[in-house]
């Protein structure tokens, strides 16, 4: 028993010596940047406790590596490992194991801020940073933050954990996933828009439909098997029809929501939009009389009256209905040149079908505006414009009444003649507008002429400046001679 005790004691003494040596080396290491003396003391205490517990077993102590004293911030130094093994046969191991003695001169004592301006300060780097891939180089602040936040455990120094990788490449992952979503949304949105446009065309532009019965030419081509719809973008479709009395042609433009564009979809969450269809009918010059009229919801009517030049010049918002007549729904406002025109255009049939109180409750959600004008600013002067909301592909039948307004108004306006009293008023307004337009044009012409004259003068002056002194003298002599000739009395020669 005593022998056993005597066998146990020498290794314990050796261990104590070893721990003293370790504590000495670590206390020296504490002078370097990145080491904290408090942490080291607690580490020694832990080591001592574990050493007391393990009597006969071999003890392995890993020392942290001394920091590299160099300007590179990415090369790690291998850890110095001191291994001691106690056994019964060797009771007196060497009390001074080999250890790396640190440089007594600290690295930063020799560092001069002014002399080495711009060169990074030397410091210890974690093995985690060095194992980072090239992508997460110092240029990536996200990767830097991730590297600083969580140093890798000793077992996984070579590879990074998935959580760290996610954090390091969060921008890339977000952008690539957004692009994938964008691509998927592009195809689904495109298909949705095409479905709505085709549903509209199937309902109103195919054989025996409303437009087939009203126009001899449907579609953008002049052949038989030409496409009905023309696709201008993923969200814009056009339908053209021509060959009807009173008008040159009709162009229907479907402007859908940008379902194919994910960014626009996100914007539409804040500023909602609706699918719209605009019918523009170009009337024949001789068939349309003096008519300027617009019908829209009150707010929209006011903005139309401010923005549209023809409404601004010739029309005003009607405050009351024509005497003894049913009128449009309360939500709507009428902007017209005169009450007579408004009364003649908004007929009982129109009120019954769409614009009256009862009908508007049902179909008002699809109505946006009507705008008829013989004084429209643009390539065509006499145009009827209808703007409606497009329903879903499944509810396309709900706008049948609204679409029926188009041929109805073509015929109504084509046949319409103003009374002589109203006509005299409208003609006065139009002649006044024509005079104003003429004055404007004249002013523009004069400005252009003056500009030309000024330019000519400039060119002449430049040319004169370029002429040499001799040429100038000759020119002056010529001018003088010309003036002398002018000033001399005119002598008439008479033959006797």
């Amino acid at each position: 028993m005593a022998t056993a005790a005597s066998l146990i004691r020498p290794p314990r003494a050796a261990l104590l010596l070893l721990l003293l040596a370790l504590s000495f080396s670590l206390s020296l290491a504490a002078h370097f940047e990145g080491f904290d003396s408090d942490d080291l003391h607690s580490a020694h205490a832990d080591d001592a406790a574990s050493a007391d517990g393990d009597d006969d077993e071999g003890l392995e102590v890993e020392l942290p590596p001394p920091p590299p004293i160099s300007l590179s911030t990415s090369s790690p130094s291998p850890p110095v490992t001191t291994t001691t093994s106690s056994s019964a046969s060797n009771p007196n191991p060497d009390p001074n194991p080999t250890r790396a003695t640190p440089n007594p001169t600290p690295a930063l004592d020799l560092w001069d801020e002014d002399e080495f301006e711009g060169i990074p300060v030397p410091e210890a780097t974690s093995s985690d940073e060095s194992s980072a891939p090239a992508e997460a180089a110092p240029s990536d602040p996200v990767a830097d933050a991730a590297a600083e936040a969580a140093p890798a455990p000793p077992g996984r120094a070579a590879g990074r954990r998935p959580a760290e990788l996610l954090r390091a490449y969060s921008v890339e992952i977000a952008c690539v996933s957004f692009l994938i979503c964008f691509l998927l949304n592009y195809f689904t949105g495109k298909r949705q828009n095409e479905a709505i446009a085709l549903a509209w065309a199937t309902r109103f532009a195919t054989r025996d439909s409303i437009f087939d019965k009203n126009f001899s030419l449907l579609g953008t081509g002049d052949g038989k098997d030409t496409p009905l719809l023309m696709k201008e973008g993923q969200d814009v479709f056009k339908f053209y029809a021509s060959g009807r009395r009173f008008c040159q042609g009709m162009l229907a433009t479907m402007e859908m929501r940008a379902r194919h564009d994910l960014l626009s979809k996100l914007v539409e969450l804040v500023f909602p939009r609706k699918d719209t269809i605009t019918f523009e009918v170009v009337m024949n010059e001789e068939t349309m009389d003096h008519v300027v009229l617009a019908v829209a919801r009150k707010k929209a009517a006011k903005t139309m009256q401010k923005e549209e030049r023809d409404l601004q010049r010739f029309a005003g918002v009607l405050t009351s209905a024509p005497a003894g007549r049913r009128w449009v729904a309360d939500e709507l406002a009428v902007v017209a040149e005169s009450k007579e025109v408004a009364g003649d255009m908004i007929t009982e049939a129109v009120l019954d079908q769409v614009l009256g109180d009862k009908a508007f409750e049902k179909f008002g959600k699809w109505f946006i505006s009507l705008h008829f004008s013989d004084q429209l600013a643009g390539s065509y002067k006499k145009v009827l414009s209808f703007k409606f909301v497009l329903p879903d592909a499944s509810n396309m039948a709900e706008m049948t009444r609204l679409v029926a307004l188009v041929p109805y108004y073509i015929d109504l306006i084509g046949r319409y003649k103003l009374s002589s009293h109203a006509r005299s008023k409208t003609e006065g307004a139009r002649s006044k507008a024509a005079q104003e337009a003429f004055r404007e044009q004249q002013g523009l012409r004069q400005e252009a002429l003056q500009r030309k004259k000024a330019e000519k003068k400039k060119l002449m002056e430049e040319a004169e400046a370029k002429l040499s002194a001799e040429a100038l003298r000759k020119k002056e002599e010529k001018d003088r001679a010309r003036q002398m000739k002018k000033s001399m009395p005119k002598v008439k020669m008479l033959r006797s």
């Binding site: 990074p120 952008c175 964008f182 973008g233 060959g243 049939a349 019954d352 029926a404 188009v406 015929d411």
Partner: protein, 111 residues
């Protein structure tokens, strides 16, 4: 109007309103480049692409790529929009290449 709604608006006066003799084939309006709507996505793509290349910001280059995709999706006038779009895409790709494969940005080392 009631009749028009039911019969497809065919006749206000009973006769067939169609006149084949007056039919004109569709001629698209000639639009000058000034009249075309502004391609904001393309413009932003160029801006972000240039910033990404010059200031070495990865995020800007990625945003430029996204705006390029939007501009491509909304392209209506192929000839006019393609120049701007190709330039934006070139800047965006150049930015990504220089950021990922080029040398690290100066002054980005930790102190």
């Amino acid at each position: 109007m009631k009749e028009a709604a039911s019969s497809g608006g065919g006749s206000a006066g009973g006769s067939d309103p169609r006149m084949a003799s007056t039919a004109r084939p569709y001629t698209p309006p000639k639009l000058s480049p000034q009249d075309l709507p502004i391609d904001y996505a393309g413009f932003l793509a160029v801006v972000f692409g240039v910033v990404g290349v010059m200031l070495r910001y990865k995020v800007c280059s990625w945003i430029a790529i996204i705006f390029c995709a939007q501009s491509l999706a909304n392209m209506k006038n192929f000839e006019n929009d393609l120049k701007q779009l190709s330039m934006a895409f070139m800047f965006a790709v150049m930015g990504l290449v220089t950021n990922y494969l080029g040398p690290p940005r100066p002054g980005s080392t930790k102190r």
